[in-house]
Every structure is written in structure tokens, then in C-alpha cells.
């Protein structure tokens, strides 16, 4: 007998948020599986923070359903939701010590409501929980300090401890790493992922940084203009973007606009400025529809090294940057189509190269102009 699929922890159906005539979230469906790390990825203004605030209870839902463990959240005010947030600016209480900040929510544990067992915690149990949470984020030495005397990274850790100490069903993280420098951000990404695994908690993380989303997530929800463009595993989104917009936003990919010429068993023949190519394609394309060919920079190589059956393209070098493991080369192909490639050797500026790629590893997706939202 096959295992039944686990029930979703959080369910959003046709979730909608309007501010007057402005629609921030325009009908969104998704599931949050237990113990998963999910990111809401999108450019600023795409509605991802509004989504997070609706789940946290800080924005009312205009229409649609939002359920936690099969129970509607819509009539439950923020303080009674078993959900905690790590705010973008951390929002630590400046007048309380680290210890008092972390213990803040424990006073209200066990209040009637979702996840409450009707019993409060005694002082000793509270102190124990605070100490455990602080050691989880390696901040036990700082317990008596005030937030202003901590660095950005330390404040971040306290904000995390303050949220996880309440053992929420879902931890919401609103661009938690955006205030940190690059190196610190890397370290915190690893710590966040590690923490989520150790605690077995469900994290929902909002970010506009693709790399961050890829580094952390089991599941990525890509949002644009209040709608979900695509959701799935990071590799899925990277390799098979659902639209030219996703390919472009995820970045790192050459997106060449074109038109579908023929379709056959999961492959499409697409006519573009750099020639006609037959490549694997997303489902649901139609002949003569605007489409886009996605080729990742590392798939482009000098023709000499190409395998048989490779497609070729001629392009002039406009710019080359040394990128450690190779050269990041910007080129311009026929019709002014910009391309970027990752090559082992430095090309001469202005040199025209014949580049090759394996069409079987390229991807044809919906064109930028094809969707209802450009």
C-alpha cells in the first residue's frame, strides 16, 4: 500500500489582497509542507511581503482561504496564531535585554488559541527555554546585553531566538539577511538552513535574492505582480523556467526571444535571431506562439570543443571579466541579441567567436509577451 502524501501544514487558496483599487496579491494558491524550507522569491512590489503579513495576521485577507492544519486562520488575530516572525529590521525591543527580548513571547504561551494547551509556563521553565534558545543561536554570552550593543549579525540571531523559543508551527522570515554584509549573509544562510533542519520547523522566507533562495530552499515560490509565476524545487526552477520572465529574473541565463515553429513530443522547434533550434520545451506551448530559448552561460563553449549535433552561434565579444574559475564573457550575436558565456580562456575584445551549445540541454519556454502579464 503506498504511503499517503503528508497533509499540507498551510494552505492558501485564491488568496487575494486589495488596497483600494491596487491589488497587491491577485489570487494565489500554494501549500506549505511540514518541515520544509520555502522561499517566496520576487522583485520588490511583487506581493511577497503582503503574503507574509497576511499569514502572520498583520494584513487582513480580501478574499480567498488561508488554513493552518485544516483550520481557517482568517478570524484569528496575530497574537493567537502559532506563527512567529523574524522581521526585516529585527524589531528587537530596545528597552529590554537580550534575555528579556527572547522571553517576551513565553509569558503568553498556553493562552487559549491555536496551539495553546491552556497552561502557562512557570518561571524556571521559561528561563530554561530562553537559555536553550540563546545557545541554539550561540548568543548565551550576550544574555544581559541590550540590542543596541550588538552587531547586525548578533541582533539577527537574537531575533531568531525570540521567534523559535515559542516553537511556532511556521517561522516567517521577512528578508532577514538584507541588512547584513555579503560574507555575513553567506554564514547566516548556512546557519538558517542548519537550524531549520535541526528544529524540524517549517520556515517561510521572503527574499528578492535568487542566490539566497537557491541556497536555502526545498521549495521556491516565484512571484511577480501579485501572482505566482512558478513554484517548485530550486533545480526545477533553474533548469526549466516556466516563462521568459522567470528565466530572466532567476538570472544567469541567456533568454533569446523567438516563435514556436513546430512541436513534437515535449520538444519545440523555435525560430530566433540566432537561428532555428529544436530543444526540450515546457508544456502548453502552441505553434506560432511567442516563446523564448534559454541557454545557460556554462552551456556555451567554443565550437572546437563542441560535441556532434551541437547548435552553433556567431557572436562578437563586447566585454570580458575575469571571474576566478573562468572568464565571464559578454557577446553580441546576430540581430543585436546579447549573450553571455563562461569560457576557460580570455577572448580578445571585439573578436568574433563561434560558440556551440547542446540543444538537448537548452530549454524553450513561454515568451515574455505571451503571458497575460508582461
Amino acid at each position: 500500500m503506498p504511503d499517503r502524501p503528508p497533509l499540507p501544514l498551510l494552505r492558501a487558496d485564491a488568496l487575494h489582497k486589495a488596497y483600494g483599487s491596487y491589488h497587491a496579491v491577485r489570487g494565489v494558491d500554494f501549500r506549505l509542507m511540514p518541515e520544509s524550507y520555502v522561499t517566496l522569491l520576487g522583485p520588490s512590489g511583487c506581493g511577497k511581503t503582503t503574503m507574509l503579513r497576511m499569514i502572520g495576521g498583520f494584513e487582513t485577507v480580501s478574499s480567498g482561504r488561508l488554513e493552518l492544519d485544516g483550520q481557517s486562520l482568517l478570524d484569528i488575530p496575530a497574537p493567537r496564531r502559532p506563527i512567529n516572525t523574524v522581521f526585516q529590521s529585527y524589531a528587537l525591543f530596545p528597552h529590554l535585554t537580550v534575555e528579556e527580548n527572547v522571553g517576551f513571547g513565553l509569558a503568553y504561551r498556553g493562552r487559549a488559541g491555536l496551539g495553546g494547551d491552556g497552561r502557562g509556563l512557570d518561571r524556571a521553565a521559561m528561563r530554561q527555554k530562553v537559555a536553550t534558545a540563546l545557545s541554539t543561536v550561540r548568543m548565551e554570552q550576550m544574555a544581559a546585553r541590550r540590542p543596541r550593543h550588538l552587531s547586525g549579525g548578533q541582533q539577527q540571531r537574537v531575533a531568531l531566538a525570540r521567534a523559535i523559543v515559542n516553537e511556532p508551527r511556521i517561522l516567517l522570515l521577512d528578508e532577514p539577511l538584507s541588512a547584513l554584509d555579503r560574507r555575513m549573509r553567506r554564514d547566516m544562510q548556512i546557519e538558517l538552513k542548519d537550524l531549520q533542519r535541526r528544529l524540524g520547523m517549517t520556515f517561510l522566507h521572503v527574499t528578492h535574492d535568487q542566490e539566497e533562495a537557491f541556497a536555502l530552499s526545498d521549495h521556491i515560490i516565484v512571484m511577480n505582480a501579485g501572482l505566482i509565476e512558478q513554484q517548485g524545487a530550486p533545480q526545477e526552477i533553474y533548469r526549466r523556467p516556466d516563462s521568459a520572465w522567470v528565466a530572466d529574473f532567476i538570472g544567469g541565463s541567456n533568454v533569446v526571444p523567438g516563435r514556436v515553429l513546430a512541436l513534437d513530443a515535449g520538444r519545440a522547434r523555435i525560430g530566433t535571431a540566432i537561428g532555428e533550434v529544436t530543444a526540450p520545451a515546457r508544456r502548453g506551448l502552441a505553434v506560432d506562439e511567442a516563446a523564448a530559448l534559454c541557454i545557460r552561460p556554462e552551456q556555451l563553449s567554443r565550437e572546437a570543443a563542441a560535441a556532434p549535433g551541437a547548435a552553433t552561434v556567431e557572436a562578437a565579444v563586447t566585454h570580458a571579466v575575469f571571474a576566478g574559475s573562468g572568464w565571464q564573457v559578454e557577446l553580441r550575436a546576430a540581430g543585436g541579441q546579447p549573450l553571455s558565456a563562461r569560457l576557460g580562456e580570455a577572448p580578445a575584445p571585439g573578436e568574433t567567436l563561434r560558440l556551440a551549445f547542446d540543444p538537448a540541454r537548452a530549454w524553450v519556454t513561454r515568451g515574455a509577451a505571451a503571458g497575460p502579464r508582461a
Binding site: 498583520f58 516572525t85 524589531a91 525591543f93 528597552h95 503568553y108 525570540r162
Partner: protein, 287 residues
């Protein structure tokens, strides 16, 4: 650098000494003099202070002044919190408009406002007529005017803007995300106010409270014109001593006693506050 700074601060210090400390010093010196028929003898004596200590009337007047101040501070704080919060949460033009509206009554002058209230509260006044017309009462309420109720009502009305300004500044400095974080952590509204809003707006409350307290203690017109028999205040007593009675030394002594009591109360309040969690966090916030 700091030497230059000291010199630059010198004019300010000079002005403070000339305009604040010197008059107080004169007042303090006078409180040890004595009226000798129609002249003032400068032989130092403690008789004035002895008279104050021995007089139930003066002690009661000082006590009443403090009680009035405390009551008006408490009432303006209760009314002021929601008002200040409301103003602080408005944007741009609306906020400016509301703040201006708040201050408009102050431009009309004390006397105009007091007489306007007499029209409202009098036996033949607006309120009594309204109540009679509604059938709530059979005959005009006399307590509305010339009573402590009337004078405190108008004191609250007069000085509410100062409290609101103080609290508004407190709310401007309060990051709204902190109250959101408190809600996120499960705190019900009452607890959010007690543990986050109140401690973080406390500097505004103290600033507003100090202004209102000092203004109420110093206001003798309102009680005199609206308080009826209860209208004698310590300030009007000092006024009378300096004016009609020509007893400057006793007047000075009462003024000094008032100041000293005020200082003592502030010190006690500060000490009491420093013993609470709220006060410690406040002190740390300013460190």
C-alpha cells in the same frame, strides 16, 4: 577644543544666570527678610518659614496645588494617549492640520477661553439649558460653574494640548514595528501597551506631564474665575502678599517652599521610578 566650547557656551550661561538664577536668588534672599511697618528689614530671620509651617491654610494651599496638578496630569494623560497616537499615525498634511487644530485654542488667550466656559457651564448656560430641554434635570445644576469640577474641567481643557504634544513626540520616536513584533509574540493589546508602548513613550509622557503640572500649579486665573469659593490658590495667595498685603518676604518664603516641595516631589518620583523595571529600562535607553 573643549576650551573653545566652554567660551562659546559662556553667553548662554550668562543669560541663564541673569534671567533664571539671579531672580531666584533675590527671591530666596527676600524670604529671610521681614516687614517692619512699611519698610523691609534685612535682618535674616526664619520667621516667615515658621509662619508657613504653623499655618494650616498655607500648607493646605500648597497641598491643593500639587493635588490639582497631579489630577490634571492624570486626566490629560488618559485623554492624551489615544489622541497623540491618532495624530502620530496620520501622514503628511493631515498630521500638520491636526497639530495646528490642537494648538488653535491656545491663540485665543486665557480670558476668552475662561469666559467661553462660563457661557457653557453657567446656571443659564448652554449645558444646563440642554439638560433641562432633554428633561434630565428639573432645575439648573449649580455645581457646573464656580466649583472645583468647573475649574479642573477647564484646566484639563487648557493644558491638554501640552500633554498631547509631549506624547505625540513620544509616539513619533516609537517604531511601529515594535508593537507589531509584540503582537507577533502573542501579546494581547493591553500587554502590548504595558510592555512596549508605555515604556517607549514614557519620555514623552514625562515631558508632557511636567509641562502640564507646572502650568496647572502656576495657573491662578482659572480657579479664581471658575472655582468659586474653592478658587483661592497658593499662587493667588503669593500674588496678594506681593501686591495688596505688601509682605514680600512672606510671599517669597511661600514661593521658595513651593519650589522646594516641587523639587523634592520630582526627586522622590525619580527615585521611585528608578526602582521599577520601567525606570531602569528608561535609564538604559538614555545611556
Amino acid at each position: 577644543m573643549s576650551r573653545i566650547g566652554n567660551w562659546l557656551a559662556a553667553p548662554v550661561a550668562a543669560v541663564l544666570v541673569a534671567l533664571c538664577l539671579a531672580p531666584l536668588a533675590v527671591l530666596f534672599a527676600y524670604s529671610f527678610f521681614q516687614v517692619d511697618f512699611v519698610t523691609i528689614s534685612t535682618d535674616p530671620t526664619l520667621k516667615n518659614y515658621a509662619r508657613i509651617a504653623g499655618s494650616a491654610t498655607y500648607r493646605a494651599l500648597i497641598g491643593h496645588a500639587f493635588l490639582s496638578g497631579a489630577v490634571v496630569v492624570a486626566i490629560t494623560a488618559l485623554i492624551g494617549y489615544p489622541v497623540a497616537w491618532f495624530i502620530a499615525r496620520r501622514g503628511g498634511v493631515r498630521k500638520s492640520a491636526l497639530l495646528t487644530l490642537l494648538l488653535v485654542p491656545l491663540y485665543t488667550g486665557d480670558m476668552v477661553r475662561i469666559f467661553a466656559w462660563r457661557v457653557i457651564l453657567g446656571a443659564e448656560g448652554v449645558l444646563n439649558r440642554l439638560f433641562l430641554w432633554l428633561g434630565l434635570i428639573d432645575q439648573p445644576l449649580q455645581v457646573l460653574l464656580f466649583s472645583p469640577v468647573a475649574s479642573h474641567l477647564v484646566l484639563v481643557y487648557n493644558y491638554l494640548p501640552f500633554m498631547v504634544i509631549g506624547l505625540w513626540l513620544g509616539f513619533e520616536a516609537l517604531d511601529e514595528r515594535l508593537t507589531e513584533a509584540a503582537r507577533d509574540l502573542g501579546a494581547p493589546a493591553r500587554e502590548v501597551f504595558r510592555r512596549v508602548t508605555l515604556p517607549l513613550t514614557l519620555p514623552g509622557l514625562i515631558a508632557g506631564g511636567m509641562m502640564v503640572f507646572v502650568l496647572v500649579v502656576g495657573d491662578h486665573l482659572t480657579p479664581q474665575l471658575l472655582g468659586g469659593a474653592s478658587g483661592v490658590t497658593v499662587i493667588s495667595a503669593i500674588n496678594d502678599l506681593f501686591g495688596t498685603a505688601f509682605d514680600w518676604p512672606l510671599g517669597s518664603a511661600i514661593a521658595c517652599t513651593l519650589l522646594a516641595t516641587l523639587g523634592l516631589c520630582c526627586a522622590l518620583a525619580a527615585f521611585a521610578l528608578s526602582r521599577t523595571e520601567l525606570g531602569r529600562s528608561l535609564a538604559a535607553g538614555e545611556a
